[in-house]
């Protein structure tokens, strides 16, 4: 220590070291945020770049002759009789239409008729058949209709399939892609926004171009309804009781610890529980949104209870005193004053809990929601009851599609992830907005 009083204009060693430590810490903080942001950007770009294609779809405009002698031998135009002609009866008509159009447009090719026919999606046949059965009067005329192209042709227009990769691919050929390119130049093949991706049900392994999220979105929606209706009142009632009324003793401590434990239980365990209790013991239907919703309710309850209790705790005790002081009963003070003040917190917790449930996959696999479902589930039916018809869910659909061989499904899976992320973002934004809207200051 020097005897001279140090000048304020010169920083001493201690101060320098302290400032350096502060600068270092800020640098670490910025680094941490940078890494987190980078991870997010990488994740989003990967998902979006590989999934955005699912929202566009390539269609070919066919002029299909519908001969009466093939489609309606009886000439009655009775849909029930016409239904005897299966998709195999329609396939040659579509192929012939495309071959004729190629000839009319002056496009020559070495490709066999069979391979030309394979440029049209296998789904197209069913589309045309359903259209004809719905409009029997079309038989005998020429139908102009946009139908799906095969997945590789679709992939070519989205850049997923190239001439080089087509040369190595047994399912398509560079010649087919050249024809597709010529047709696109002439406006016969078009790529446009794909509403079907959000509305259509799942499709089989050979036709990724037809697969959609309709059933999965409905299933997820039903499950969210079940979770909301069950978990919100249960969770809020439980937390109000625990926070405001329960005596503080060993038992309530024990319950509190176990609610926290429940929040940490791996989700697949809830799936096993759901399978054992709700399906095997309770006799509820497999793959049903009801069982999925019940399982997710169990999973979401601790989240809602914990956030509700935190929201109730954050209401200042002076408000409770004020209410009790004017002679309100305990229940009145809670429901008239504490609960409205805690509502934004409860709401946020609930929405975050729901978002968590929306993205949950593992427990749903165990209760059979991974099944291939093509029928739109009705909210209620005589045989299956409320939310009892088989459905899938968004995250399970992602899981399902990533396991399929055709690269078209990889694109669909990424598209489904985008859809899921959009739903989650909407829910989280709603949580933030509701919080801002209802937050009260005191």
């Amino acid at each position: 220590m020097s005897k001279v009083t140090p000048s304020l204009l010169v920083r001493d060693d201690r101060t320098k070291r302290r400032n350096a430590a502060e600068r270092r810490f800020r640098f670490y903080g910025l680094g941490a945020i940078g890494i987190a942001a980078l991870a997010l950007v990488v994740l989003l770009t990967t998902v979006v770049s590989s999934g955005v294609g699912a929202f566009r779809q390539t269609y070919v405009t066919l002029e299909i002759a519908l001969p009466e002698d093939k489609l309606d031998k009886t000439g009655t135009r009775d849909p029930d009789l016409m239904a005897r002609v299966t998709t195999f009866g329609y396939a040659p008509l579509l192929r012939a239409a495309l071959i004729r159009q190629l000839a009319e447009l002056g496009i020559t090719t070495d490709l066999s008729d069979k391979h030309i026919g394979e440029m049209i999606s296998k789904e197209a046949v069913a589309t045309v058949r359903n259209h004809v059965l719905a409009n029997p009067e079309l038989v005998g005329t020429t139908l102009t209709i946009d139908v799906l192209t095969e997945g590789r042709v679709d992939g070519y227009f989205k850049g997923r399939v190239t001439m080089e990769s087509a040369a190595l691919d047994g399912n398509t050929s560079p010649e087919a892609l050249e024809i597709a390119q010529r047709l696109a130049d002439l406006g016969v093949i078009k790529t446009r926004f794909n509403w079907r991706f959000l509305t259509a049900p799942d499709a089989s392994d050979q036709r990724p171009e037809a697969a959609g999220l309709g059933v999965a979105i409905l299933g997820s929606l039903y499950m969210m309804l079940v979770v909301l209706v069950l978990a919100l009142p249960l969770g809020v009632a439980a937390s109000i009781y625990l926070e405001e009324f329960a005596p503080k003793n060993r038992l309530s401590d024990f319950i509190e610890v176990n609610i926290s434990n429940l929040a940490a239980v791996p989700s697949i365990v809830f799936g096993i529980l759901g399978l054992a209790i709700f399906i095997n013991f309770g006799g509820l239907r497999q793959s049903s949104p009801l069982v999925g919703g019940l399982v997710l309710t169990l999973m979401t309850l601790p989240t809602i209870i914990i956030s509700t209790r935190a929201a109730l705790k954050s209401v200042p005790p002076s408000i409770r005193d004020a209410a009790l002081g004017v002679g309100a009963s305990k229940v009145q003070s809670v429901f008239h004053h504490v609960l409205p003040l805690a509502a934004p917190g409860i709401l946020t917790g609930t929405i975050i809990g729901l978002a968590q449930a929306l993205g949950e996959t593992a427990p749903l696999l165990l209760i059979g929601m991974v099944a291939f479902v093509r029928e739109y589930p009705a909210p209620y039916s005589e045989t299956a009851g409320l939310f009892g018809e088989a459905a899938t869910a968004l995250p399970v659909q992602v899981f399902n599609w990533t396991q399929r061989a055709d690269p078209g499904f990889a694109e669909r899976a990424s598209g489904a992830i985008i859809t899921l992320l959009v739903f989650l973002a909407i829910m989280n934004i709603a949580a933030v907005l509701l919080r801002r809207r209802f937050e009260r200051r005191w």
Binding site: P247, K248, P316, S318, I319, R320, D321, A322, A323, L324, G325, V326, G327, A328, S329, Q332, H336, H337, L341, R440, R441, W442
Partner: protein
């Protein structure tokens, strides 16, 4: 024991509004108040003074059973309001608190409109049959709390938007809207500036006409200004209780004298 109580209750003079005998309060193992006995007269302002932690607020909260909300708090002894034991098993604290209103240390209006703040008590006790009756009750309470002229044009504004002193008067209005018989005030001016304090003190003096007011205060000057009776608490026991003039001019107990002259506390 029961028999004795019955005899006592018949003998209790109705002249005293509140009479407390041998009140003992403990929080778990800690004893907060030991053997306090006080008689509180109607239409007077009674002040409880004493250093921090002496138990005066605890005792005040016994008078309308606000201590019930604390799990580990236990109260023994006998507190009677108009001769009725308020700790009797048949007494519902909710009914008691409608009769014994309370104003707290920190202004704590509900985050609702000024009108709703005052109307809440009458509403839950069913004191108004219709809207105009309710409006009368609210106006009356606000007038008594000397707040009406300041807020009559903005009754729909949030009570939390008022200034500190106005908020505290709003809380007083809220407390008197249920027409209680006793008004308990727990350091009502400790969060307020001198001007707001003066307003509240004036108000307390006016309230004496209709209510029995019990006030806990840290400020001896305030006790001297507003009260007729003063009780001095120290370390959980009631040291001295008497007319305010007597306590401040001729205290009997040496501890009281030390406190009011500023040597302890």
């Amino acid at each position: 024991m029961k028999d004795i109580q019955v005899i006592e209750s018949t003998q209790t003079t109705t002249r005293q509004k509140i009479s407390a005998k041998n009140v003992k309060v403990s929080y778990g193992e800690t004893i907060a108040i030991k053997d306090v006995s006080v008689e509180i007269a109607p239409n007077t302002v009674t002040a409880f003074i004493g250093p921090s932690g002496c138990g005066k607020s605890t005792f005040l909260r016994c008078l309308n059973r606000m201590n019930d909300t604390i799990d580990i708090c236990s109260v023994t002894g006998d507190i009677r309001l108009d001769g009725e034991n308020i700790y009797d098993r048949n007494v519902d604290p909710v009914q008691l608190r409608a009769k014994v209103g309370m104003v707290f240390q920190k202004p704590n209006p509900f985050p609702k409109s000024i009108f709703d703040n005052v109307a809440y008590g009458p509403k839950i006790h069913g004191l108004a049959r219709n809207k105009s009756e309710m409006a009368d009750i609210v106006e009356n309470a606000l007038r008594k709390a000397a707040l009406w002229n300041e807020v009559k044009d903005r009754l729909e504004n949030a009570g939390t938007g008022l200034s500190g002193g106005q908020q505290q008067r709003l809380c007083i209005a809220r407390a008197i809207a249920t027409s209680p018989e006793v008004l308990l005030m727990d350091e009502p001016c400790s969060a307020l500036d001198p001007i707001a304090t003066a307003q509240i003190e004036e108000l307390i003096d006016d309230l004496r006409q209709n209510y029995c007011v019990v006030i806990v205060t840290h400020s001896m000057q305030q006790a001297a200004r507003v009260s007729q009776k003063t009780a001095f608490f120290h370390l959980g026991s009631l040291v001295e209780y008497g007319d305010t003039d007597q306590i401040f001019t001729a205290p009997v107990d040496p501890r009281t004298e030390s406190y009011i002259t500023g040597r302890i506390g």
